[in-house]
Symmetry: C3
Subunit: 138 residues, 3 copies
């Protein structure tokens, strides 16, 4: 059985990191499925999904690491061609990839105690986003 649902949210962009665990959990509980995979996937090329301990300190550590690895203040060819100014957003999203797949059982996501599912918006402006949660199981 397959159930496809959506999470809608407003993000601020600029590596805004949003905890979406409760929304994914609700998608599982509101389905008839008890065991299977929850694919969390962002359609779009300037955002990503991963997991982290959603704690203010490490959230800022992750933001700084990403800025160090893929700086926003160096020239990007994407910007030279399209004047979007979000070349760094595209590169970050391609490296962090658009989704994750989380197993669930007994209607419960099999996450660690301190592990949350987060959406990261790398774009250079606020965005209204629709994230896909697709459940495949029984």
């Amino acid at each position: 059985m397959v159930r496809t649902t959506f999470i809608e949210l407003n993000s601020r962009g600029f590596t805004d990191i949003v905890d979406i665990t409760e929304s994914v959990r609700r998608a599982v509980i509101e389905s008839e499925l008890t065991e299977g995979l929850a694919a969390v996937f962002v359609p779009g090329s300037t955002a990503s999904v991963t997991t982290i301990e959603y704690e203010e300190g490490v959230i800022e550590d992750l933001r700084q690491a990403i800025e160090r690895l893929v700086p926003s203040d160096i020239p990007y060819r994407h910007d030279a061609r399209w004047q979007d100014g979000n070349g760094f957003s595209h590169v970050r999203a391609a490296l962090l990839k658009p989704g994750i797949t989380v197993p669930f059982r007994d209607r419960t996501l099999l996450l660690g105690t301190w592990q949350q599912i987060v959406f990261i918006d790398f774009d250079n402006r606020p965005r209204k986003r629709r994230i896909i949660v697709q459940l495949v199981g029984e």
Copy 2:
């Protein structure tokens, strides 16, 4: 239901980035499945799969970012031991990981408008590659 198909392509190596969206789309359309997960996975330890806006500028930006993050011109122990010269390829592939899982519905991949699925060949020579597309759904 599960359907496993393959994409065959020739790549040039050296972070060749190839748009495979149409091939994945075809695998979905040619299956009897209407809704589920498309796992796109590269068997091999010197290549990866991700998504990006397939636009010449940002493709080159991604290539340069990868060269900056995992340089090809520093010594690797893999090369010292095996004389393969592709130590950087292995490290890049391990960091970017071998696959992604994309949801589809109504026989349509749920990608963003400017989001393409790409195969990245990190190896240091041209390769004939076979990428797996496995559909799981109903």
Copy 3:
């Protein structure tokens, strides 16, 4: 059909890279499934799963690349707040992400000849770990 199993192991932490291919293979063989997805997922926010050629040289190359990209010897806000000393572990795990999804067919993981599935423990101490292997298929 869905089958959820677990791999238990002791790791040393500090980017300990452990080959778990045989355990995942066994999970497939011991299930009744012949074709589908094997999701390998670590519950916890200081570890990851990827694939690599499990060879001593490239394992050390990967460890050095990760140390270069997310150094253990710079200050992290997580540590300032919680005195855990493992801020770098959290950032590494968020960037490398908690799992991978590997297709199998004819009860065989569709990996490359030199491609192994590895668990990476980024934490700053030895840990007893339980990794999830969830099979979805037929």
